[in-house]
């Protein structure tokens, strides 16, 4: 096999961090190489160098033997490389079709042939089992759908090498399986694939080879034949990781979060949450299991005051929470780890320090009256960066310069470090490495044990089954069953999620 992609001794430093240090990785035709590593290990930086989006300080990148000049953004594309970025590269004000064809539009004369383009998008979407609405505007779409668009865009052109940076972080399990199958098929037909993920199951399922990065260096390489998930985790983190959640018995008390007959519309004004009732007691974790698009997102947003409620109410310790006022809801003791951290959770151009107080910047001790208390801000940031293991050169670093998983940790740290009665965690471990997943899970359990009512919404059924004390199965905008953890057997929950009766 000839090497399609050869990365040799690449080094890249950012102010205060060595993101890549003498890294060498190669991908041969027909081979799937998984790139693993903790948050901030340097995976995205490395693949961005191939695309010229990052300019390495030294080292060589060759595609099909040809040298790619540092910072050459067109070189890789011209040589048949497709890339799905972790950070989406979509134009929000354009439609799905327009985004997918952008850069290589079907023409009729000098005009874009929109009809042909639309048909092409539909065919593409069917071929790969990734469902998209060709006419929707990208800015209205949830992150999962945006991810599908990115993937379709990369698959549209016949590529020889496909680079995927955490493509499955926001996909549903079914979509993930489809994508893994697509990758295998492509590899069989001779395409080389470089694949970044935090999900060890996916690595075990598709990778021919695994390269593990740690602190910007190659920590080792292996293959699924030689190791198992524990072994991979150990190689990544450099210590033993407990993949199984360990938690004590829940001691639930009075119900703290009460959702009564709540109805909510989705963005297209269709009923998404339909007269839903649910209670979460202090000291327990209730996991909402459901196939994506069954109203989970709308439920979370309505609870947190971010989406208008049509009817019904949400009570916290018996007190009604206001509609459409996220900050007031928050002040009533409701912490929220939002699904879309880039939009709501963070201000990328602010320092970590400021992001860690974003929704409490005007409260004691972070402000004394009108004046912000810099000492308290710094003390808070220093403590949380340490406690939540946020990998950053300094607390003054902007959030935008952090790796994806570390951004998530900033949001989690802010929300879980406050004294709260209710924690609403929407996809809390998205894009987070195994070591940090363990940590965030422990934090959620700690919040529970400290007496908070925790509502967990996750696309990962495993996450729900291992964390929740009770599992609420959501289907068609309603809670169709509530099971105690001990009765929530995987097959049963799956059948209920699919809308079948037990």
């Amino acid at each position: 096999m000839s090497a399609l992609l050869e990365i040799t001794n690449v080094t890249k430093t950012f102010p205060g961090v060595v993101a890549n240090e003498n890294i060498s990785v190669s991908v041969a035709a027909g081979e799937i190489v998984a790139l693993l590593g903790e948050n901030g290990a340097g995976k995205s930086t490395l693949v961005k160098s191939v695309f010229g989006m990052v300019r390495p300080d030294s080292g060589e990148i060759r595609i099909k033997g040809e040298l790619i000049a540092p910072g050459d953004t067109g070189g890789a594309i011209a040589r048949g490389v497709g890339m799905v970025h972790q950070h989406f590269q979509l134009v929000p004000v354009m439609t799905v079709t327009e985004n997918i064809i952008l850069g290589d539009e079907p023409k009729r004369g000098i005009f874009i042939n929109m009809k042909a383009a639309r048909a092409e998008v539909i065919a593409l979407s069917e071929k790969y089992g990734l469902e998209v609405d060709p006419d929707a505007f990208v800015e209205d779409l949830p992150v999962g759908t945006q991810q599908r668009i990115e993937i379709l865009k990369a698959l549209r052109k016949d590529v020889d090498l496909l680079i995927l940076d955490e493509p499955t972080a926001v996909l549903t399990p079914q979509e993930t399986d489809e994508l893994l199958q697509v990758m295998k098929n492509l590899a069989t037909s001779g395409v080389g694939v470089l694949f970044i993920t935090h999900k060890l199951r996916e690595v075990m399922a598709v990778a021919d080879r695994v390269v593990v990065l740690r602190n910007g260096r190659v920590a080792g390489s292996t293959s699924p034949r030689e190791t198992d998930e524990e072994g991979l985790a150990q190689l990544m983190v450099g210590r033993n990781v407990v993949l199984q959640v360990e938690k004590g018995e829940a001691k639930p008390e009075a119900s703290t979060l009460e959702i009564k007959a709540l109805s909510v519309n989705d963005d297209r004004k269709h009923l998404a949450v339909d007269g839903l009732n649910l209670e979460v007691r202090a000291g327990e974790i209730v996991g909402v299991a459901g196939v994506e698009g069954n109203g989970q997102r709308e439920l979370v947003e309505a609870i947190c005051g971010m989406r208008p409620r049509l009817s019904g109410e949400v009570l916290v310790s018996g007190e009604a929470t206001p509609d459409m006022h996220p900050h007031k809801v928050h002040s009533m003791g409701v912490s929220h780890i939002p699904e879309d951290r880039e939009k709501h959770g963070l201000v990328s151009s602010y320092s970590i320090e400021d992001n860690l107080v974003l929704n409490q910047f005007d409260r004691d001790p972070f402000a004394k009256g009108w004046i912000r208390n810099v000492a308290a801000l710094e003390e808070n940031a220093t403590r949380l960066v340490e406690e939540f293991d946020i990998r950053t050169p300094s607390i003054k670093t902007t959030a935008g310069a952090l790796s994806g998983g570390n951004k998530q940790k900033v949001v989690v740290a802010r929300e879980l470090s406050q004294d709260t009665r209710v924690v609403i965690a929407a996809q809390p471990t998205r894009g987070v490495d195994v070591g940090s997943i363990e940590f965030i899970h422990n934090q959620l359990i700690a919040a529970r044990d400290a007496g908070a009512a925790v509502l967990l919404v996750s696309a990962e059924l495993d996450e729900i089954l291992s964390l929740a004390d009770r599992v609420a199965v959501m289907s068609g905008g309603k809670i169709v069953a509530i099971l105690d953890a001990k009765d929530a057997e995987r097959g049963l929950v799956g059948r209920l999620m699919a809308g079948l009766s037990a």
């Binding site: 102010p15 205060g16 950070h87 900050h327 002040s331 939002p338 709501h344 963070l346 005007d362 912000r372």
Partner: protein, 350 residues
């Protein structure tokens, strides 16, 4: 690292100015004059003597304020092009209060007249702010339109309703001594006040919750809303405060320099404010050097013509080039840090 960061931040404006002067030199040369002589004359008149410096600082005063007005907008994610109109409105209102109100001692009359300038400038800013907050009309459009409306309005007011008796020019009567801003050691005292204000604005953004609110809205509206910051209110505040500061600049110009309102003065001050704010990289303290530089060039342009035979319009040309050189990279940065730009590149992770 701090040093590196500093140099990277200020590299663009310094290079922009140098490039503009270099191109200016070529143009002067083409005109058949000696660029070195022209620049030497420009700078020695602007900065080479106490009287030159006094004149420069006098010219710089309204520029600091108009630069601040633009800066506050930029921080809150708004492009306030209406500083010219806000400033002129303030200049007129302060001058009017300065001649029309009689019988007050200076320590009351002068502040009252200045407050007139602030209030009218703020009012104009508020109109654009309200249209943006409640009607969603882009501030660039409304402020440009307001500029035209106000220029016509004050022309009419100074040329008809409040015209100096017996004048054919459009101008108000001279202000009273009790509304005149005195000089300190023959330096324009308004300048020191403007510097204090720049520090004040800087401090507000650096250390107060109000500054943090405005800035958060400027950088990510969704996150601001989520964090309990009213976007509408912030837009209103940024436009009103910016307009008020611009109006104050106009007031100081009327009461400290011109001594009345005359529409032919004041021209361009607001637009220079845009150049200055961008040169200062939307940093309230950064407007000071830019304002002094541009104030000096404006003040000495006529002398340069006399010494070196160069048309004073060359100063306009150089300033236009500065704006051009400084905007391209700045706008790109600014866009990235605001809603619009963030949207273009929004997504998951990094």
């Amino acid at each position: 690292m701090a040093g590196k960061k500093f140099s990277r931040t200020w590299l663009t404006p310094v290079v922009a100015v140098l490039v503009a002067f270099a191109i200016g030199a070529i143009l002067i040369y083409i005109q058949g004059a000696d660029p070195l002589k022209a620049y030497q004359s420009l700078f020695s008149h602007a900065f080479g003597s106490w009287s030159g410096i006094a004149k420069t600082l006098g010219k710089a005063t309204p520029l600091v304020l108009s630069g601040l007005a633009v800066t506050i907008g930029l921080r809150a994610g708004l492009f306030n092009i209406g500083v010219q109109g806000q400033l002129v409105m303030g200049a007129f209102a302060a001058a009017w209060a300065g001649y029309f109100i009689h019988g007050l001692p200076i320590y009351i009359h002068l502040p009252v007249a200045l407050l007139f300038g602030v209030a009218f400038g703020a009012g104009i800013g508020l109109i654009a702010g309200a249209l943006k907050a409640y009607r969603g009309i882009h501030e660039v459009i409304t402020t440009i339109m307001l500029n035209s409306i106000i220029l016509a309005l004050v022309d009419y007011l100074a040329g008809h309703v409040f015209q100096e008796p017996g004048q054919i020019l459009a101008r108000t009567p001279h202000i009273l001594p009790s509304a005149t801003i005195p000089n300190i050691f023959s330096m324009p005292s308004g300048f020191f006040f403007a510097i204090l204000l720049a520090y004040g604005v800087w401090w507000v953004f650096q250390r107060t919750t109000s500054g943090f609110r405005l800035e958060t809205v400027g950088r990510n509206k969704s996150a601001a809303w989520y964090a309990g910051i009213s976007v509408k209110r912030s837009v209103l505040i940024a436009m009103a405060v910016g307009g008020g500061i611009a109006g104050l600049g106009g007031g100081i110009e009327s009461l400290g320099v011109i001594g009345r309102f005359e529409p032919t003065f004041n021209t361009g001050l607001g637009f220079d404010g845009i150049t200055i704010a961008l040169l200062g990289r939307a940093n309230p303290l950064g407007v000071i050097p830019g304002a002094i530089l541009i104030g000096g060039m404006r003040g000495a342009a006529a002398s340069m013509q006399f010494d070196a035979g160069v048309a004073p319009e060359i100063v306009d040309l150089i300033l236009a080039l500065v704006l051009f050189c400084v905007t391209a990279p700045f706008l790109a940065k600014w866009l990235k840090s605001t809603e619009v730009g963030a949207k273009i590149s929004s997504g998951w992770g990094n």
